[in-house]
Symmetry: D2
Subunit: 405 residues, 4 copies
């Protein structure tokens, strides 16, 4: 079969995305990649922002598009990048999220608590690499940051990478939260490489500043929106209750075999690689279908939580800057225990506290380096007169309490 020379995909965010290499086609056509169509990028945020139903597949195509642009820029500035490295960086970007499970971050701690999605992405890439006779090796090296030109890894995964640029641009587009709009065009135009590291030219300073602040605003207004938090907690509790019922030997039909596998087994890190092919059949559909089946289960806790999530009857949530007094939780718990006739040890499904954290700029991880016209460089947090000071590098914490409505 002769593959088409190139293919263009309409994207409401960037206009068009061009795919122009047979290996990119093969990867995109792979069932493991197509699975990302069935995983929503923003999990349950669409319960608050109805437009936010875009998928991991769309996001990774978008990040790939920004990577293409960034590579064109860097090459036009004389940075040496071979065609193989270019393809590697594009493939690494396409596949950077291939290890995400259903509902992205929301279920990371429940279904796959022993492994981070980045590790899963790597393992799946390695699996595909075998299938493709090693053609993904450069991509894998870049992804793992073992490739010599570290700026390529920094483009894939860093404080100012194409992943973050795309998700901020895409998430603000689909939510309609104009406060999150970033000038990705300008940032990319200002990228360059200095002493082997990715840096931003001085003229891009305000755009980077804006990028960091948009991220901050998107966290508070969208990602950590209290109703979104409440919905994700409800989803997590549904999975936990299902695991508990199975563990206790209560009959629970799970419509998807893959989901049943992950709910039943207590996988250790060593078991995961063997379970990868099953993991790669798992997506949002399996989880939602189970929840739809369970809304009539005899276990009243499971039933209540499932109906709540399906019909958008979520927890009541309250946020504040200080931790909640233990009394309040205690009191609510007793109230439910009595009123709903729930066992005291199960009342945490209906009343619980927790904390939400937002870091603007992580001083200890990758840094954003500004390159000045005189050739000197500074970390953005040290540039005079920016809004990003060391104090902003401290995580901001909020405390929440969730209860039944």
């Amino acid at each position: 079969m002769s593959l088409p020379k190139y293919k263009i995909i309409n994207d409401p965010v960037y206009g068009f995305i061009t795919i122009d290499h047979p290996l990119l086609f093969k990867v995109i056509e792979h069932p493991y990649y197509q699975r990302l169509r069935r995983i929503q990028q923003m999990a349950l945020a669409s319960l608050v922002y109805p437009g936010a139903v875009h998928t991991r597949l769309h996001h990774s195509l978008g990040a790939y598009h920004l990577m293409c642009n960034a590579l064109i820029q860097l090459k036009s500035k004389g940075i040496s990048i071979t065609p193989e490295e270019e393809l590697g960086a594009k493939l690494a970007t396409l596949l950077h999220d291939v290890g995400h499970g259903p509902f992205s971050h929301a279920l990371e701690t429940t279904l796959m608590s022993v492994v981070k999605h980045e590790d899963l992405s790597l393992w799946i890439m390695e699996y595909m690499n075998d299938e493709l006779d090693g053609q993904l090796q450069t991509a894998i090296d870049i992804f793992k940051n073992t490739y010599t030109k570290s700026f390529l890894h920094q483009l894939v995964s860093g404080q100012l990478d194409v992943d973050r640029m795309d998700y901020l641009a895409r998430d603000s587009f689909f939510t309609g939260v104009s406060e999150g709009v970033i000038g990705y065009d300008r940032i990319i135009k200002m990228l360059t490489v200095h002493n082997g590291e990715l840096v931003v030219e001085e003229k891009g300073l305000h755009s980077v500043e804006k990028f960091l602040l948009s991220r901050r605003i998107m966290y508070w207004q969208v990602y950590l929106h209290k109703t979104v938090l409440a919905a994700e907690k409800m989803l997590v509790n549904i999975m936990r209750r299902a695991q508990q019922l199975i563990h206790n030997g209560i009959e629970l039909s799970v419509p998807s075999k893959a989901l049943q596998y992950f709910l039943t087994k207590k996988l250790q890190r060593n078991d995961i690689q063997a379970a990868l092919p099953i993991f790669c059949t798992l997506d949002d559909v399996d989880v939602m279908c189970a929840i739809k089946a369970w809304e009539n289960h005899t276990d009243l806790i499971l039933q209540h939580l499932c109906r709540g999530l399906l019909n958008r009857n979520l927890y009541k949530i309250h946020l504040q800057n200080e931790p909640f007094e233990n009394d309040i939780l205690q009191q609510k718990s007793m109230e439910y225990a009595t009123k709903l006739n729930v066992d005291g040890s199960d009342v945490h499904y209906f009343a619980f506290t927790g904390e939400a954290i937002n870091t603007l700029y992580n001083l200890h991880e990758e840094r954003i380096t500004i390159l000045f016209k005189d050739g000197s460089t500074k970390d953005i947090s040290e540039v005079n007169n920016t809004l990003v000071h060391k104090t902003f590098a401290n995580p901001v914490k909020k405390f929440y309490i969730c209860t039944l409505k």
Copy 2:
């Protein structure tokens, strides 16, 4: 519980949508309405346009928003509309699509072949009206076009209604097809009522013309895009094969009880109303979950179709202006019968022909009337110098043949 006075919803298309009446809240919070979150507006179009994953719920909120704007306009021009009529028109718009089943039009002919979705919408409204002590009566009268002020019905459902305006605006937004962008703002500003009928002021002529042409372009470029057609045919064939297997007594596990019900029963029009509560639990999740389960079924036809849809390995489709010679289909069919060892009577799952139709402007249905400054009116197809002539009212037909890749 005291309901909030008003609520604003972020919408990437219009900015903000305001909900400002308790009855609107109640309807939106109803599980039958919330179900629309799980039905994609454009069914499988996202296989071509990855951004097109927006939902029926989002579309009906959008149409509601345009209705709000249209009512404000008409009132500002002195058209008499009572608060009750206003609320009725808004409710009718919110609920106009509540009768859509999974994958919208794609499965209308398979799962619910005896009833149109408009009838289902009406029946569900009537059901909800009972629950709400008759508060939806005006909405129902407007929807059925039995209400005296027929312009209200024309706003809900006509050649230039808020439904069409929203789906064109929304679908071009989410697909990124800029050719489909319409000037809904301007059209709405130009609406008025003349002799009891909805008309467009002369100054809006070009915007209406553009609206009709955008619709035409969206049909050919998106709704009837050949890959979208191929995917929808595959989905329909999956459901047909499943029905056939069940009918033949082949064991087939259907993860969703509601889907099983509709696949198994041969419902007549009279049975439907009784089946409404089950219908109202059915959505895209049920169908996708079944397809995921069936991709390993022993029936090779079902297996092949399910894997094709999940992994975007669709039919090859060819379109032309004339019908296909019977020979071509015949030949392909025999080829598959031999190669795949498929029964001759089943080979139509792998090779078949059909037609796609697009009507720009339906002369026989509702008309678009232009109001001139001198007080005279004309149907748009009779206005001198427009692109919309009677010839365009003829449906344009294309013929397709689908085969395996």
Copy 3:
């Protein structure tokens, strides 16, 4: 002085425009090019669309940007284009409008009636070419269509050139007329070269169709908007009256020497080249400053027209499909002659008729050729099922009458 390697310019329409060759800088920095900052692209359209104040300079930068994109596309499809040809095509685009005079088309017939702006552009390019030691020669050859690769000329100036694409995109952007939005991105992606001619791939058919229709809508809704017409007629009449007064020896101070020159001299085609340096100092400012000076002139006709234009007190204009009866004009003329005590031979400044013409697609000029997958080509007007038929190639004419308010 070392020139910067590249420069990016913020453009609200396309995001960023990149200038990346020293010769491009030199041309942009030239006073003849900078003059285009002081000529509004849409002349007096801002009297109706207040945002439409963008300049010829901005438009030609935009057309240059689209040319850059088109060249990248063609090269990526294997079309051979040398760096010199690339630079030539870019320069020809940058300079294609450098011969426009004040208020663009509006005053073409008054101040420079013997030469078209395209000829002026060419002569100015040749003048600059001398200054630049022949570095503009390829650009000039492409512009004149004497260069062997005629597709380059077609990109600069044809039925589907970067000039038209930019002015439609830019004019709809700045007017806010969403009906005019075109999918320039997609059209450019679909361009290719076949037998040495610029053609559009079949998949771009709908976008081209949309492009032609947008142009039609922009003509009726914007370029030939009746108030815009009225304003332009008023401007033309102001210049004519000034010429007449000067010719009649009435004292008239003209604040700008350049404008005085062109109002006074009766230039023949042969005189123009000598007058080029003066022409190249003339812009909107000269004309507006004169009009501001003349609003207190003792000639009541001139005074009235100048005040009308400055304070947006324009002619009343009426359009219809048939020519106006001579009686109506006659009657109005006599009315004014009496009421305003104006000489009968001057009454045409206050009451006159004329015609406005709009051609959708010019069959006799350059054609738009569609390339089908099977390698065949067709003129768009011959493609089955498009809206562009030969009938649309006929100009559509409207008749107007202008009178005082």
Copy 4:
């Protein structure tokens, strides 16, 4: 003459602006208001951002549109606003900038140094009020903040007024600087009145934060962009040199009588009101026409500056956080004095220093008050966890040196 009932104006930023009261028409049609068409909102910023050629008229229409929306919001929340107050607030917004002179702020210190444009706006409103038999009285009271409901004044002129919201939205739109985009829709939805003062509901906190930061970014990236600064200094120096030459009795033809008046007279504050009718004929055209005339003046300083501005050959400018050493300026000055044979006392036209100041949030002026759900209020600078701290209220100062290229 019967005025139209309403008129809609296309605006690329907001879609449509509706004018719906005869008095609004009268004011808009007034020559004093129409003059604002000929004053660019961003003065010389278009030398860097070519799209930024929008006018004061367009800005004040935009601010008026936001005022309309804000009033609708407040009324929908039960705030009592009479029709007269509504009209007054709209008129005050329309006219808030009617006192701007040519090139807005750039020439404020040269041509009209003794009066601020706000005072001129007020005096012109009072003048028009006489003409309109007192119909502008409420507007004037609101503008002067003598009207009882002070929130109306705060909407017209405060830390978060429709003026600022429009200029940020409009200026980022026309420059294409996406970093400046603000969520004006959301801010307006969140406005309310508490104890008679304009406040923002808690849910609008992030949008306000974003608004303040966008303003900051627009200042550094656009308003105080070094090339824009350089151009404005050149314009100011041209006017100063012209004044000096006139004062020294050097012959200097000024094409506009109004400009000649203001260049020649040394007006005191008391003289201004008498000079208002002349001021109201002055706009950008007068200034640009003079500069075009002077580019061939025998005074080499004037000639050089005028040519520089017309051909975009501007000062070289350097910015830094500390004041420049006197030596550097001294040295440059001597260099020019020798090389250009310029008198030592005139060398400041070619080499000079100065400072640019940007205040994010002015603690001492109007404040932005946040209203919490519990009914309490706080100034935004005191809200926990915002980026706007008291430290940001301190002005940020940069120092510049301008020299010849």
